[in-house]
Amino acid sequence: MTKNDQTEEVAIEVCDIDKTFKVYFDKANTLKERILFWNRNRHEVREVLSDISLTINKGETVALVGVNGSGKSTLLKLMTQIIYPDKGSIHTYGKLVSLLELGAGFHPDFSGRENIYFNASIFGLSKSEIDDRIDDIIAFSELGSYIDNPVRTYSSGMYMRLAFSIAINVDADILLMDEVLSVGDQHFQEMCYEKMMDLKKQGKTMVLVTHSMQAVKKYCDRAIWLYQGRIRMDGSTEDVVKEYLKVCG
């Protein structure tokens, strides 16, 4: 297989990465503190991820599962390029959109509509591209007349609806999602999963972090189980979920 073929197939390539965080006990942030208490900068290096290598192909829907603190969100952040690995490399091919937290980047004083423009532009869309999509976004969010109210008046469910509607409508090739759907009501969650199935049919790649094993089994082709910063198991959803529930359930 030539290199070119490979890039056509692969969506995310994670090569042998390590990531550590420095956890300061009492951080000297100012110059005075740095000089006076130079020895106070005691910190513990905490290994969050180690020896992670994985390849996600185009069109795959992958679930990251694991208990809290196992490094799932960190892995997503690394894929998004919000943080960088200490060792190893990550390559993503195609336009990537991540939904790591509810309404990240919403400006509370601006209306929902203005925030659509602002948020979609963070994802790299131009004004005319947003103009084309705005009706779809508003329709999908089912916010109706609330769309022109300031976002600070929204409930957390409305926040999520808006954030999700934007992320799903920006035509990304890769969609990363960190356990955000749980805020929505049953009806909206179903709508979201339906839409995700749509995207899947279009050949989009998705990586989800979720604790809902039902959703994993129903919607994902592949599951990766992270345990203490390492990949414990990587395989078909069926097998991984069974193992996972045996140990953690």
Partner: protein, 255 residues
């Protein structure tokens, strides 16, 4: 770098707009403050300085205005620019976008505010009878020098401040000192020969003097000095971009 910025041009322009609009959101007069601020500030100086300071300038208010408004562009941009990464920590930690958009949009929104304030200068040049001269065509050049210079400074300060928060206070003092080391409230011609080296080393002195030459004295500015400064600023901007790019990798963890 430019390709990435072009791809994210919409975000760049919305964040510039946000910077300008957000500043005046919730105030009654809104963007009008871009006019009123320099105007009111000027009134204060116009009342105070003729009393405490006997200046040989024929029109001290205009003398002051042509220097003070560009100076405000400099100080507000530097102070806002250096805290922009920290202020936007919430977004930085959750969404990917080219980080350099933040400092660039601060400097650019500062520029737009400055251009609005320039209207005040033009109106007053007409009212006071000083008028305009052919040297006005050099004004865009002086503005360009200041813009590039600010970009370099803000790229460096915004990224370093994340790791060394003291810098905000240090720079505050430096700016105050620089105010007196720049010919703003006084004219260069009143400075004794042996202190002139201070102004040779101060980049803002070239810029401010440039504005004043073009707008107030209506004479040829020190073009050679300004071209030199432009070259230095371009280098500063490139070095600043490298520093910023290196430091930005750990922003999300430091904030």
């Amino acid at each position: 770098m430019f390709k990435r910025l072009f791809q994210y041009r919409e975000f760049l322009s919305t964040s510039i707009k946000k910077e300008i609009r957000g500043k005046y959101k919730k105030s009654f007069l809104g963007i009008l403050w871009s006019f009123l601020n320099p105007l009111l500030m000027l009134m204060v100086y116009a009342i105070i300085f003729p009393i405490i300071l006997k200046s040989p300038e024929k029109n001290y208010v205009m003398f002051l205005m042509t220097a003070l408004i560009p100076w405000t562009f400099f100080t507000t941009t530097v102070t806002q620019g250096m805290s922009t990464i920290i202020a936007n920590g919430n977004i930085l930690k959750k969404v990917y976008f080219p980080r350099e958009i933040l400092p660039i949009s601060i400097v650019t929104s500062g520029l737009i505010n400055f251009l609005i304030s320039c209207i005040i200068i033009f109106i007053f040049l007409m009212i006071t009878g000083i008028g305009y001269s052919k040297y006005l065509i050099l004004l865009p050049f002086v503005i360009l020098v200041q813009y590039i210079f600010l970009l370099g400074i803000v790229l460096i300060l915004s990224s370093v401040t994340v790791y060394l928060r003291d810098l905000e206070h240090i720079i505050g003092v430096v700016i105050q000192a620089l105010f007196y080391g720049t010919p703003i409230v006084y004219s260069l011609s009143t400075i004794p020969e042996r202190f002139l080296w201070v102004f040779k080393l101060n980049p803002m002195a070239y810029i401010i003097q440039g504005y004043r030459d073009v707008l107030y004295y209506q004479q040829m500015p020190d073009v050679q000095g300004l071209v030199m400064l432009l070259l230095v600023s371009v280098v500063l901007m490139m070095v600043g971009y490298q520093i910023f790019n290196h430091l930005q990798k750990h922003f999300a963890e430091e904030l």
